[in-house]
């Protein structure tokens, strides 16, 4: 579904990705793990068009999306829930959710999706009218996840969705992610909670210093000595 070949990418004088190739198959949940600064977020940003790649190629469902701007990437079916929440601080919770559905038409369906998100995260329902910038960190994270879900993509990328969430909400979030994969949406997941990510994924990549150093089924990575030591705290 998504194919990336030899992608190189960076910021100003810094090269963050030094030639990355990865595949995400339709209907799969693919995990991307790595240390701080390895380039995980940059990979997602490159896919969604926030950081233009310097070289390499990206294809989504056979269509070349290399260098496409974010709206086109989204329109082609890829949503990106960015790192660090990034809610619109001066807009209400509800308006933030509506922004997630910006490209969609049909207010009835949108309202139904919104209600579904309120049921998943009752906290947000309580805070509907509150300016998103005044929410607590975890509440903002829930909002960011909900907002990404509102676009109804075919591939959704999460950048550390569990960040700052209470344990029971983390569980719920992972359940949601598994749920959307089971409903047919493809997922690319970046997680520091590597154990959980590897456990639920269909396939995983390990990123170190801007390069993919390992890939395989989640269980394979869990079993890997290096991964255990460097990422699973074992």
């Amino acid at each position: 579904m998504l194919e990336i070949r030899d992608m190189v990418c960076g910021y100003g004088g810094v090269t963050a990705l030094r030639g990355i190739s990865l595949d995400v198959k339709a209907g799969q949940l693919v995990a991307l793990i790595g240390a701080n600064g390895a380039g995980k977020s940059t990979t997602l940003r490159a896919i969604s068009g926030l950081v233009p790649p310097r070289s390499g190629q990206m294809k989504f469902e056979g269509i070349d999306i290399t260098g496409a701007k974010p709206p086109r990437v989204l329109a082609s079916g890829i949503a990106h829930c960015p790192e660090g929440r990034r809610v619109f601080p001066h807009m209400s919770v509800e308006e933030n959710l509506d922004m997630g559905a910006y490209l969609r038409r049909g207010s009835g369906e949108i309202a139904a999706d919104r209600d579904r998100i309120y049921t998943e995260f009752p906290r947000l329902a309580e805070r509907r009218r509150q300016a998103a910038g005044t929410l607590s960190g975890g509440e903002q994270q829930m909002l960011a996840i909900g907002r990404a879900l509102m676009s109804r993509p075919r591939l959704i990328m999460f950048d550390e969705p569990s960040l700052g969430l209470a344990p029971n909400i983390v569980e719920r979030t992972f359940a949601i992610i598994r749920g959307i994969r089971d409903a047919g949406t493809t997922v690319l997941l970046v997680e520091q909670n590597a154990f959980a990510a590897l456990e639920m994924c269909d396939h995983a990549y390990l990123l170190e210093n801007g390069r993919i150093v390992l890939s395989g089924a989640g269980s394979e990575l869990i079993a890997n000595e290096h991964v255990r030591k460097a990422y699973l705290g074992g």
């Binding site: 701080n36 607590s136 960190g137 960040l163 029971n168 569980e171 909670n193 990422y231």
Partner: protein
């Protein structure tokens, strides 16, 4: 616990935002040299409590005392001067300065010299400057960011910026450190290393109040845990007590807590 002298007292603190009650009637104490964790669901009021303790918010009711000084009416920088230093839940660095200069700014409390001395470049000012630079180097090494010393802090990855945030707090020479989700964005191995760091800090006699959702970490590092829900304390005790408290499990831990 009672043998310790008390570092901080939170006494019947309440915070309201318009009609929204973020904290109601919160009271607890933190002993000198203790590591206490404040946990609770998202939106329970933990960060708000930090804001009250560090003077960023005036509570609607109640008072906070640190080492026998009432904090009411003190400005944040005055509270910082008492040695009460916090980190922020969101990444917070001086983005356009290098990591090294970030630490120099963080060393503000050690570097104070008279303005006139600085302008005239007197030897005392220069000596103080040399000391700061040395200390900044040590801190960098301590958090393991030597390699990034001369990169602008704003260009670091999320996790790296969080480390800078902790280093900045340490630079301010705290006598009590308030950490707001310090290991969010770190993986299990990085968290292990961080736990060692915290223990090191405590061994230097620094009191620590920790907010964190990473339960394995909280359970290993805390002497005592206070649990908030909807702005109220619902439980308080040692990690073992909290782990098995049904109200806490219901409101916060969920049933797969061991793993999370």
């Amino acid at each position: 616990m009672t043998a310790r002298s008390i570092a901080m007292t939170i006494d019947q603190v309440a915070v309201r935002f318009g009609g929204l009650v973020a904290i109601s009637d919160m009271s607890f104490e933190v002993g000198e040299g203790e590591i206490v964790s404040l946990i609770g669901p998202n939106g329970a009021g933990k960060t708000t409590a930090f804001n009250v303790m560090t003077g960023f918010l005036t509570p609607s009711a109640g008072r906070v005392t640190y080492r026998n000084t009432a904090l009411a009416g003190l400005k944040p920088h005055e509270i910082a001067d008492l040695g009460l230093i916090r980190t922020f839940q969101r990444t917070s660095v001086f983005p356009n300065d290098t990591v090294y200069d970030n630490l120099l700014i963080g060393l503000h409390r050690q570097g104070r010299v008279r303005l006139l001395d600085a302008i005239l470049g007197l030897p005392s000012a220069r000596a103080s400057e040399r000391k700061l630079r040395q200390r900044a180097g040590e801190l960098l090494e301590w958090v393991g960011l030597e390699r990034r010393a001369h990169d602008a802090a704003g260009s670091l990855s999320y996790g790296e910026q969080r480390l800078v945030g902790v280093a900045l707090a340490l630079a301010a020479e705290p006598s009590m450190l308030l950490l707001d989700e310090p290991v969010s964005g770190m993986n299990a191995s990085e968290t292990h290393r961080f736990v060692e760091l915290i223990r090191g800090i405590r061994d230097r006699g620094i009191t620590i109040l920790l907010v964190e959702h990473d339960m394995p970490m909280v359970m290993t590092v805390s002497d005592r845990i206070v649990v908030l829900n909807y702005g109220r304390i619902i439980a308080e005790g040692t990690p073992d007590v909290i782990r098995n408290d049904p109200a806490v499990i219901e409101a916060y831990l969920g049933h797969g807590a061991g793993r999370a």
